[in-house]
Amino acid sequence: MSALVVHAVALDELPVLEPRAWRNWVKGELLQGSRPVMLWGRRVDAGVEVSVALQRADRGLDVLRTTVDPAHGYFALTEVALALHGCERELHETLGVRLTGHPWLKPLRHHGQTQAEMAAYPYYRLDGKCVHEVAVGPIHAGVIEPGSFRFQCSGELVHHLEIQLGYQHRGVEALLDRGDPRRAVPLVETIAGDASVAHAWATCAALERLAGVTLAPEVELARATLLELERVAMHLAGLAGLATDVGFVPGASTYGRLRTTAINTTMRLCGSRFGRGALHPGGVAITPDPAAVAAAVALLTAHGATADACFFGSRVVQHRLQGVGALTTAQAQQIGLVGPAARACGVALDQREGAGGAYAARPIAVTTEPSGDCWARARMRGRELTASLAWLADAAPALTAVPARQPPGQPVGALAPSHLVLALAESWRGEVVHALETDAAGRVVRHKVQDPSLRNWLGLALGMRDNEISDFPICNKSYDLSYCGNDL
């Protein structure tokens, strides 16, 4: 069993229903306790194939497909599964599928448009004598990716926040769909460049399943080590950002320099501070250095504990973060939050739970926080960081030489023709989903990607309601979402 959730199905065994039956099936499965994972489309001769992936309570995946005539479309699933609102907006925007009953059919990322055309975006507006609008973006005040935020406020109070993205749309899926085996992993490493390892692993796992390749345990362990180091580094970066935003300087500098230690450890192992170029289908390119990992983990654990005691123990920090930007468990489930943002709302969802491979011997316990506010998200990150460090301390000594590896850049082997594979990896931000489909000649003809950001941006917007506009920076930082992961 792999460390990731991987599901493969031959296309001739994939159930294809007519749209109404397909929609009813999804409704039924959701009532049974399944969770929407992803919905995506692909243009074919007969129209557009729409696939939906659901995850059962036992973590297994189900995929079902329908074919629709884009002009005719179908009745939007968003109505029954709000979590799919982004996927259906994408389907409408990129493939022109008509969707009846979608409550918010606005552009998701402005495919093929220019900034001038984006200016016509139909923002939701409040009218009234006391209402005023605050526009932020696309360029923000710091060194950060672009996106537009539009607040409808009365005084300091935010009634509604709308997040308009698309400024980072480069067209990465169009490049991936070209199916060049050399470029798949380098490209996905930059989908959300701070979660390179998670995206790369999901793509590798999908390709390996298609090629029928199983990995040596040492390879899986090395990959998991890089993934957990990535989680540690980015949770530290997030806490440093939060500490900066609430003006807690010792936290900002300490978490910031600890992140340097974490990513320098990644660099010691693979040459890149972001783990770029380390994973490739069939292998991993690392120079194992168990002593360096152990030393870094010991330092991070010791100094991290002091920083946590200061940061989370500070009354100022508590006062600033508690009760701000809160969502309920029900809201989180309804909009389909994933990752630490979901766990901070009491939703125990983590693709590493019960995972095999590198996590089988050293399981990672899923923890949650109940309050769903900025404090809970900060606590989640602190706790996950500690858990990952404990995992790394345990795993580091086992980090031995990786057996003769597939040279990077080489195809992993012949891919199974006419297959669909889904792979889910738990990045520090939540699950990344990759779906690869091959044609009759075994070429990748569709490579669909979903970054957790697509799911979580709505959480930020909803959580801002009835909060003060001055709380926006800490709310935003507490989610720490990717703009280009959404925009693709």
């Binding site: 710091g142 701070d194 770029r276 100094h303 040279p407 990077p408 280009c484």
Partner: protein
């Protein structure tokens, strides 16, 4: 209180004493290409490269396209390509980013005497990400952290382009950001210049020819400093900035 003091003690001095002398351990940096002849008709490195950064023979590697993924080194049957931990890779002339066969040559960063005189003691930077994946953005942010502490050299991030001397662009420039980048540039006072950070900004990198990309800005405003990498190491960026401002040449 005691915890804060303990935190301060653990912190100690974190700043890298000399940014010009620091060598990151294990970093896959400046490639060197040996002069050993290629096997007949071999194109292994060219074929394996995801960004079309290599041409051969003779083997030439364009750091402006290269993501330092490392795939080409093991692909070469004669082991011609090797990566060193050298961080100094930035250049002011685009052509200088091309690594050729032979001993390593550190490219030169030169923004001209007039700009050097003006900004030598204080350089304010406004960063715009236009399709950057947050790799370059994180490394640019890291420049200001307690380890790299670029502020001690008078180099600082500013929030408004009005206050900026140089525009730091990361990402290939998306169609949907093309106007914003131009607006930021137009808002800056003279003298000013452009710094392109990362393979994406220099050449488009992995996104060269992607459907959502519009690189017109760089045609109108060629950068004065190109900082290669994907993302560049903060030391690569720091070395480039310090070399650009250095008085003694």
């Amino acid at each position: 209180m005691w915890k804060l003091l303990q935190l301060r003690r653990e912190q100690g001095r974190q700043a890298i004493p000399d940014l010009r002398a620091a060598r990151p351990e294990g970093f896959r940096g400046l490639p060197v290409i040996a002069t050993t002849p290629c096997a007949d008709g071999c194109r292994a490195c060219v074929d394996v490269c995801p960004t079309a950064a290599i041409t051969a023979p003779p083997v030439r590697l364009d750091l402006g396209r290269c993501t330092l993924c490392g795939a080409c080194a093991p692909a070469c049957p004669t082991g011609k390509i090797a990566f060193t931990p050298e961080v100094a890779m930035a250049a002011s002339r685009r052509d200088d980013l091309v690594v050729t066969e032979g001993p390593p040559r550190v490219p030169e960063v030169d923004i001209g005497a007039a700009l050097r005189r003006r900004f030598g003691r204080s350089l304010k930077l406004r960063q715009v990400s236009a399709g950057g994946c947050n790799g370059c953005e994180l490394e640019l942010n890291a420049l200001a952290n307690v380890n790299f502490d670029i502020g001690r050299h008078g180099i600082e991030w500013v929030a408004s382009p009005r206050h900026a001397d140089a525009l730091v662009v990361s990402g290939p420039i998306t169609r949907t950001m093309a106007d914003a980048v131009q607006l930021a540039w137009d808002a800056m006072a003279e003298p000013r210049f452009v710094i392109a950070v990362g393979a994406c900004a220099i050449s488009g990198g992995l996104y060269d020819g992607a459907p959502g990309v519009d690189r017109g800005f760089f045609d109108r405003q060629p950068p004065l400093i190109y900082v290669p990498g994907c993302p560049p190491h903060p030391l690569t960026i720091a070395r480039a900035l310090l070399a650009a401002l250095a008085r003694e040449r």
